[in-house]
């Protein structure tokens, strides 16, 4: 990867880094941090789903592992939050490697892979809800102690910059993957696995690398979530909502592109906020909009939009 490959990402990072200088409203920064955390989770999904074509419906398994690992090590063993954050990424990546090994070795693809990842996430959710180690149904509260050494900050601006830095890192990583041999092999597996294998691509190894990286990135999002909201429970960490968020953003913004998840997450959350301010806080209404947008995007893929408009124009 050269500077020429990286400059759009760096430019995005620089512009976004200016936000706290202009915006001091807590709610807006809060919104920006939450959206960026979801960008990160979605970028994780994008590596496996977008570039690798393996649609996971259970990225909550990785998000939750990152979140719980960060929380449990801090609360129960008093480990430094920065260390627990990294440990969460490592553990999420390991969980990804194991789930990937089991499912890809059995040759699960397409709908079957979606189903098995969904089931794994549900198993984690039921377990986390039942065993006392995770705080059970009551959840896990990380004690408030706002000092930078604790990965907690008095004002939101600093946390925003850290989350942004991690998102930029994930974007650079994705860009590097795109330019690498592994990335090319991954896309080859997505387009035609048999053909890729016939050309000597070790499909299992490539997919395993993708799911490990993917799970690690989504796990980082989970760790950030726990650290920002200082609370984790089984429906937040392992709930279907995060699996859906992680999948929707890249699909809507453009799966298998560097900026797709960022665009998708921003579009979705702006839409949700706009709806809330229009019709009030009716529970579930934002997700109704998400669902409709998802169906419309599949029905009228944005890539085909220019062609569709031209066809109408000529008529």
């Amino acid at each position: 990867m050269t500077l020429r490959d990286a400059w759009p990402v760096l430019a995005f990072g620089l512009v976004a880094a200016l936000l706290p200088a202009f915006v001091t409203a807590g709610t807006l920064l809060n919104f920006a941090i939450f959206t960026l955390i979801l960008c990160l989770a979605a970028q994780g999904w994008n590596i496996l789903g977008g570039y690798g074509g393996q649609y996971s419906f259970g990225h909550a398994a990785f998000f939750g592992t990152g979140a719980y690992c960060a929380g449990i090590l801090q609360v129960r063993y008093g480990v430094n939050p920065y260390v627990t954050f990294l440990a969460g990424i490592a553990l999420a990546a390991a969980v990804g490697a194991v789930i990937g090994f089991l499912s890809f070795r059995s040759g699960l693809r397409g709908s079957y892979f979606a189903l098995v990842t969904l089931a794994f996430a549900e198993v984690f959710r039921v377990l986390a809800n039942a065993v006392p180690f995770t705080g059970g149904a009551a959840g896990l509260l990380i004690p408030l102690d706002a000092r930078p050494v604790n990965f907690q900050f008095g004002e939101r601006g600093s946390f925003y910059l850290i989350v942004l830095a991690l998102v930029v890192l994930a974007l650079l990583l994705t860009r590097a993957l795109e330019r690498s041999r592994l990335g090319a092999q991954l896309v080859a597996v997505r387009e035609n696995e048999e053909a890729a294998r016939a050309l000597g691509v070790d499909a299992l190894r490539v997919k395993l690398a993708a799911i490990t990286l993917s799970a690690g990135i989504t796990g980082a999002a989970g760790g950030l979530y726990a650290q920002y909201f200082l609370y984790v429970d089984s429906t937040i960490a392992y709930g279907t909502w995060i699996s859906v968020e992680a999948l929707l953003a890249p699909i809507i913004g453009g799966a298998g592109t560097v900026f797709g998840p960022v665009v998708g997450a921003i579009v979705l959350h702006s839409l949700a906020e706009a709806t809330r301010s229009l019709v009030g806080r009716i529970p579930g209404i934002d997700l109704v909009i998400y669902g409709i947008v998802l169906i419309l995007v599949v029905r009228f893929p944005p890539r085909r939009l220019p062609a569709l408009i031209r066809a109408r124009w000529r008529r």
């Binding site: 377990l127 529970p283 109704v288 998802l294």
Partner: protein, 297 residues
């Protein structure tokens, strides 16, 4: 692990079989849609929730007994299923596997959250005087075991519906067309079968099965916007276990899962009891994705 006297275990097995038949009915709709359209319908659970709300509204607003509500709800849900496949899923997916996954996922998100917006997250149930009634089944070695009346009705009706479906699929022209499309879509189209119509009819039948299941569940169960999720993973488990697309496999799988759930609830407690199903699901997917009963994918 606790040990229980045999009559308790036997009662758990019997209750599991009764619940399992309704699971089987839910799975029947799913497997039929899979067998013919070759799609995994993620909206199945949300459609079940919708049917349960419809049955609840029929009871709350019109005073209709859930068992009577089957009569109006089946045609309504058949029509709804037909329309959803014809107007939403079919055009949006353009036959692509991943598009179908996404469209049905989108549909389930819309339905589930629209119900959350309308009914809020409160748990609703119907009050009918037979809900708590039990039937005594004699056992020769101990006191008779008690079986819940609504579950017994559910068991009977589920098998009745399966029988009707069997007759429909084997003895009518539409049934023959459905089986033809399931076996060989292009060939069926070439011999003059309207494939898009048959797809929609199949989807409609699958949705109508849900309407029946919803009416059977309501007297002894509750409804909230997420209730379908609990059933849909169970239904997926059953469908995968029974062999994707296999109708008898779905019924048999339903009974097995009902018993597994009931026994793991007995031995592991309610919160961990669900785990048994997911573990079976993962194991079957990993090691026998073509189904336990030898059906070929």
């Amino acid at each position: 692990m606790n040990s229980f006297p045999p009559e308790i275990v036997l009662e758990a097995v019997a209750n599991g079989l009764l619940t399992g038949a309704v699971y089987g009915l839910v799975a029947l709709g799913l497997t039929l849609v899979y067998g013919v359209l070759h799609i995994i319908n993620f909206a199945h659970g949300a459609l079940l929730t919708l049917a349960m709300y419809a049955a609840w509204v029929a009871w709350a607003a019109f005073g209709l007994d859930p068992y009577v509500a089957i009569i109006p709800l089946v045609p309504i849900f058949f029509a709804a299923g037909y329309a959803v496949q014809r107007l939403v899923i079919g055009p949006a997916s353009r036959g692509d596997d991943q598009n179908i996954l996404l469209v049905t996922l989108g549909l389930s998100i819309v339905l589930e959250n629209a119900m959350l917006a309308i009914f809020r997250s409160d748990t609703l149930s119907v009050q009918v005087d037979y809900a708590m009634e039990v039937v005594e089944a004699p056992l020769f070695f101990s006191a008779p075991m008690l079986l819940s009346f609504p579950r017994l009705v559910g068991f009977g009706v589920a098998f009745l519906v399966a029988g009707v479906l069997f007759v429909l699929l084997t003895m009518t022209d539409t049934g023959r067309a459905i089986r033809a499309v399931a076996k060989e879509r292009t060939g069926a189209a070439l011999s003059g079968i309207d494939v898009a119509h048959i797809y929609a009819v199949t989807f409609g039948i699958g949705t109508a099965c849900l309407a029946v299941a919803a009416c059977l569940l309501l007297p002894s169960f509750y409804v909230n916007p997420r209730v379908g999720n609990a059933f849909v993973l169970v239904a997926f488990t059953i469908v995968v276990m029974g062999g994707m697309g296999s109708v008898p496999g779905a019924l048999l799988g339903g009974l097995v899962i009902g018993v597994v759930e009931s026994l793991s609830g007995l031995y592991l407690g309610d919160s961990l009891g669900q785990l048994g199903i997911f573990v079976i699901f993962i194991l079957v997917l990993l090691f026998r994705p073509t189904g336990l009963f030898g059906a070929r994918a």
